[in-house]
Amino acid sequence: MKDSIDSHVTADGRTIGGVLMEMRDITLRFGGVVAIKGISFDIREGEIRAIIGPNGAGKSSMLNVISGFYHPQEGDVFFRGEKRPTMRPYEVARMGIARTFQNIALFEGMSVLDNIMTGRLTHMNSGILSQALWWGRAQKEETANREVIEKVIDFLEIQSIRKTPVGRLPYGLKKRVELGRALAAEPKLLLLDEPMAGMNVEEKEDMSRFILDVNDEFGTTIALIEHDMGVVMDLSDRVVVMDYGKKIGDGTPDEVRNNQQVIDAYLGVAHD
């Protein structure tokens, strides 16, 4: 099961590698409420992994465990084969894990450019003196990173709003800028919390295309939470299904679709 060497090539020609991240027996409690009960699953390098489940199933809590906002009472997180110690979110970010939020969490007072530039913070390390004098390393670094984010801006087709303050943008574009900020960090693992919530069909199609392109072109591993089943089944390589904090299904979209427990959770079951 857990041989991290085997890799295979998918039908559309992408390479799925070994295990990038593994959650082992994670249990998370808030006081008396158990949000996650002993869940284990893994995320393989290069795959698109979906986490689905009805409202309140603990999907977002799971993502928050991965990104270091919550610390589970039991269980361990393994990243690239090593057990991860308890970490603050900014330390997790520095390991190469980026994410977007369910409710957009952009910096409203800054321009699109500056927002995406903040995604590069983990790649910038000039000293305060060099920055204050705007000379030498700081300036070189600024230019080099600007080149990187311009690629992200081109990729997401948001060139025309580069200098617009984020507060003025419509919802769909904000979602795109937030994805841009996460991409700018060049993450190894990208976590997307409902990237398509509140979008119309056209915007969903755009977003799906971006997600597939990110995975295909940059080889970024993606873990996403989404409610739109059509999107999930089309995009993802493997799906974890959660209900009431427990894992009730795990496998390819087809396997999950035919899993009786999953069908029960989504459609309800007669109690007799």
Partner: protein, 358 residues
């Protein structure tokens, strides 16, 4: 008509990220510098220097400092007066202890010491936010003033409890003490203002500035992109206090010459500088200048109008001044909560399209 960016293309990222990307802005900035450095020193007299220019310049530094903390990093502080006092007393102790060292170095060191004190009082900011942090910094304000009043070592055991600046020179020209000429006073402050504004601008447009603004706009999201909140907040406290310390040192050494701490660096000073950045515009270097100019010039202007033109008695005018300034601040906050800097920005945007707004 003259404000145009047509034909003004940036072809490099360096050019695109400069402070004044539009040519017209850049030339106007050079013109202001040329006048400030090349013309005003020859024209300035005692009245203008003492009533208008020197306080404006020094308050501009303090406002830049507070703007970095409050406007850029979102941490409200009511300790500005106390931190200015730290700068003043540090400068005084250094000036009397090492008379041979240049005053410029003393002022910079005073800024450095204030930065250290600022970091110390900034430590609670990791746990407390908003109004509660304001109250914590208020404690700094009262504690520091009390400290400088009560510990005689700080004022070298002088009988009056005051500190007064001995005469110090820069390249042979006295800049502190009673023999200082108005133009020398003005010029030394101008040099510091120029340097501080330049440093502040560089810091705020780069990596550190983005870190601060990220913390200001949404601290959870800032953490998720790799910002260590404690480091970000403390660096804002340090840089902010550095500038405020320089302002305090200049206020004491160059402007007033003698200082009684409770009177000069009391809570009123904290509020005055806070009003400056609110009126001028939070998160804007230009706003710091505009706010300082507004609150320094307005009382002078009102006094001239009320006493000089309308012939009111001085005390009536002085009291009425408070009413007018207060009313104007309220009116201002209602009409343009983002300050003078926002007015300026809107005006520029309009001018850019004028006379064809579509």
């Amino acid at each position: 008509m003259i404000y145009r960016e047509a034909g003004d293309f940036s072809t490099t990222y360096e050019a695109d990220s400069q402070t004044f990307p539009i040519k017209f802005d850049r030339y106007r900035y050079y013109l202001v510098l040329a006048i400030a450095f090349g013309v005003i020193p020859f024209l300035v007299n005692d009245y203008w220097a003492n009533a208008v220019l020197v306080p404006f310049l020094i308050y501009a530094i303090a406002a830049i400092g507070l703007n970095i903390l409050t406007g850029y990093c979102g941490q409200v502080s009511l300790g500005t007066g106390g931190f200015m006092a730290v700068g003043a007393y540090a400068a005084y102790k250094l000036m009397t202890a090492f008379p041979d060292v240049s005053i410029i170095i003393h002022v910079l060191l005073a800024g450095g010491i204030t930065a250290g004190v600022g970091v110390l009082f900034g430590l609670p900011s990791l746990r407390i936010k908003g109004f509660y942090l304001a109250v914590a910094t208020l404690a700094a304000q009262f504690f520091l003033v009390w400290l400088f009043n009560r510990v005689p070592w700080f004022y070298n055991h002088s009988a009056s409890g005051q500190i007064s600046a001995p005469e110090r020179t820069v390249i042979g020209i006295p800049v502190t003490g009673p023999n200082t000429e108005a133009w020398a006073q003005y010029l030394i402050c101008l040099v510091f203002v120029f340097a501080c504004a330049w440093l502040a601008r560089n810091l705020t447009r780069g990596k550190l500035g983005r870190t601060w603004m990220a913390i200001r706009d949404m601290d959870i999201a800032a953490e998720i992109i790799g910002v260590n909140p404690l480091a970000a907040k403390l660096s804002a406290f340090a840089v902010s206090s550095f500038f405020i310390g320089i302002a305090g040192a200049l206020f004491f050494a160059v402007y007033l010459g003698a200082v009684e701490v409770g009177e000069v660096f009391g809570i009123q000073k904290s509020f005055l500088v806070l009003f400056m950045i609110i009126i001028g515009g939070l998160g804007s270097i230009f706003g710091s200048f505009a706010g300082a100019a507004f609150l320094v010039l307005l009382p002078v202007l009102l006094k001239n109008i009320l006493v000089g033109s309308l012939g009111w008695s001085t005390d009536l005018a002085a009291h009425f001044e408070f009413v007018i300034v207060g009313a104007m601040i309220i009116a201002f906050l209602i009409m343009e909560p983002h300050g003078l800097a926002q007015l300026w920005r809107v005006a520029k945007e309009k001018l850019r399209l004028w006379p064809f707004p579509h």
